[in-house]
Symmetry: C2
Subunit: 373 residues, 2 copies
């Protein structure tokens, strides 16, 4: 049985538990997981008895057929065609009533409107959020996925190496981003999530989009990159300094690594996201930095660079359930929170597999504040 048939089977078991008769997915990450194909302007319909239909732009039908293992692939011309093709499969699969799962945490209202349009579905079919179902399905990564994540992490390491090696006084934040991305492309990245490079006072920002600011030798530089390779993402962040870091900066950096290691060492089956979060924040707080912490330190990673599990409070606002104790095979990024002192901040982040006995850290670029020394 193909990996996708197995996943469909598991999805059907979850549909029974979540009391759904079918799901209609338009989020590429979810479609990719279940069918091997995830693209824009497309949908996948999966029924509780494991029937699968894929709708794509007319232009893409042959491409999907050459990759996907499912019988029903239909092309459409535009949004109206998409609605009619969904209606076609409701009829073909004989579904006249029931509950369909939609990705409420992904669909803004107009796109939701397409999927619940009276021409798309029978009147007696009602909709319900399937975000938690899809997150539960994708939560524990199988061996093949871990290998893909390892490849993505190596690509992230290559990007970080290129950026750090290119770092010199006067180079711009944007040019550093260029070096990281170029190296990740050479290593096979088909896509990125947004590259962050921030220097000096900008290391304080939650999301430091690179600018034309020239990096000074006294600046701390924060580099946060997220390649996608064969559909899987990795996440690495490092803070570096070209010149001589101050004593305070060195202390904060060492402290950060201690907090990160403290959390990472606990990343094994049975631990909770809250425990990991507290074990990292606790180290910072004990050193007098309680007021300098911002952001939840943990998020899941896989097909998306931020996915379940998310910390409980955060999860609620992203349509996710509070996470259960971690299982082996869940993959997380640890270190997403910053330690912000005012004039500068530090952050280090790794992609980590939860193991039965302990963590497997996939991103391995050295955490050296002054890499050129």
């Amino acid at each position: 049985m193909s990996i996708y048939r197995e996943r469909i089977k598991k999805a059907c078991e979850l549909m029974a538990r979540y009391e759904l008769d079918l799901v209609i997915l338009t989020k590429p990450a979810n479609m990719f997981y279940l069918t091997g194909d995830g693209r824009l302007c497309a949908y996948a319909m999966v029924t509780k008895d494991a029937q699968v239909a894929i709708g794509v732009p007319n232009t893409d039908v042959d491409d999907v057929k050459s990759a996907a293992t499912f019988d029903h692939v239909m092309g459409f011309e535009d949004e109206v065609g998409m609605i009619h093709s969904i209606a076609h499969f409701f009829e073909k699969f004989g579904i006249q009533h029931g509950v369909m799962g939609l990705e409420y945490a992904f669909l803004p209202q107009p796109r939701m409107g397409m999927l619940i349009h009276p021409h798309a579905k029978p009147k007696a079919v009602i909709s319900k959020d399937c975000t938690p179902l899809m997150s539960e399905l994708r939560l524990v990564k199988d061996k093949g996925e871990i290998e893909q994540l390892r490849t993505a992490a190596k690509t992230a390491d290559a990007g970080m190496k290129a950026a750090v090696e290119a770092l010199r006084p006067g180079i711009t934040e944007i040019q550093l981003a260029a070096e990281a991305e170029y190296a990740m492309r050479q290593a096979g990245a088909e896509d990125f999530y947004r590259t962050y490079v921030a220097s000096g006072i900008r290391t304080n920002l939650a999301h430091g989009v690179p600018t034309t600011k020239n990096i000074q030798s006294s600046d701390l530089v924060l580099i946060d990159i997220h390649p996608v390779v064969n559909g899987y993402a990795a996440d690495i962040c490092r803070t570096v300094c070209i010149g001589q870091a101050s004593g305070k900066q060195k202390d904060a950096h060492e402290l950060y690594i201690r907090g990160l290691e403290n959390a990472t060492n606990k990343a094994k089956a049975g631990a909770t996201v809250t425990e990991l979060e507290q074990s990292m924040h606790g180290v910072f707080a004990a050193a007098g930095h309680k007021e300098h912490i911002f952001g939840p330190p943990i998020h899941g990673i896989g097909i998306e660079f931020e996915e379940a599990p998310l910390p409980a409070g955060h999860a609620f606002f992203h349509g996710e359930k509070a996470p259960a104790p971690l299982k082996a095979g869940v993959v997380i990024a640890i270190g997403n929170c910053g330690l912000y002192t005012g004039p500068w901040g530090v952050r280090e982040e790794d992609t980590v597999v939860i193991g039965e006995e302990g963590p497997q850290v996939l991103t391995n670029y050295p955490k050296k504040l002054q890499p050129h020394q």
Copy 2:
């Protein structure tokens, strides 16, 4: 009066017309337009009497204050803090009832849920979609914006030049993407929208994410890039061939350019999106390619690489109104549709300013099918 104060004033006039008492924006593009600052995990509240409040992560408060010209900037810790900070400004501005505009075409349900949370807003404040208001506001670009778009277009040209010059047999699609992006970064791009590079049969795809496929000398290669410079995007697409293109390929490419020119020449004040669309599709249809066209050829471009105006049918499903006749200063990308013959497709796309008398084409990289000859 600062440009942002002027825009706020115009927004207030539109709020009166759309019967809104305030808007709460979380889409970075909209916040950037109105306040000069658009970032993730933030909001801007603008009332009908031109009061403006900005909420950002605690880490980002100083950065926003150094850039924004508005009095009320408030930091928050997390999503709950964001909700409370919105409630704070409802109270501060004395708003107890009325209609608030939210970006329905941007907000999936859980994020919508934050903004209409009972702790965020007074009970008697109801919400309504402000997508059409914000699109109307941003539709006509001012002189400063046209200059920014010109800079972005030059950056897109630089990216295209680098990719085309790097093209040789055996190079991968991903490596071509790398060359385009690296050059655009060197030219100052702080961000990109997704880079598409597709070769051979993959030129048929609506959205050809680059792969590790080695490009053959007989392949057509489609390169579609979208840099963001100082907050503004450009869009260019070219189809090229390393070796000797076939007669059919040359004919299709020439035909495409003829269709594109036919539409571009009509891009002046008073024309409608539908007229431009028909003038492009008409050329293809007259040459016997009616069945080979896919996708709407026109979309607006500005802070976002796809924004209003959108073709009428498309607009409906994106929460936008059908577009009015074009005014001078509206900026569009023309050529977004492909001409698909089966074994290969061609596409060329430019960023174009609607003028009173005629178009100003901002992207100028040559449209040469065989650039190495």
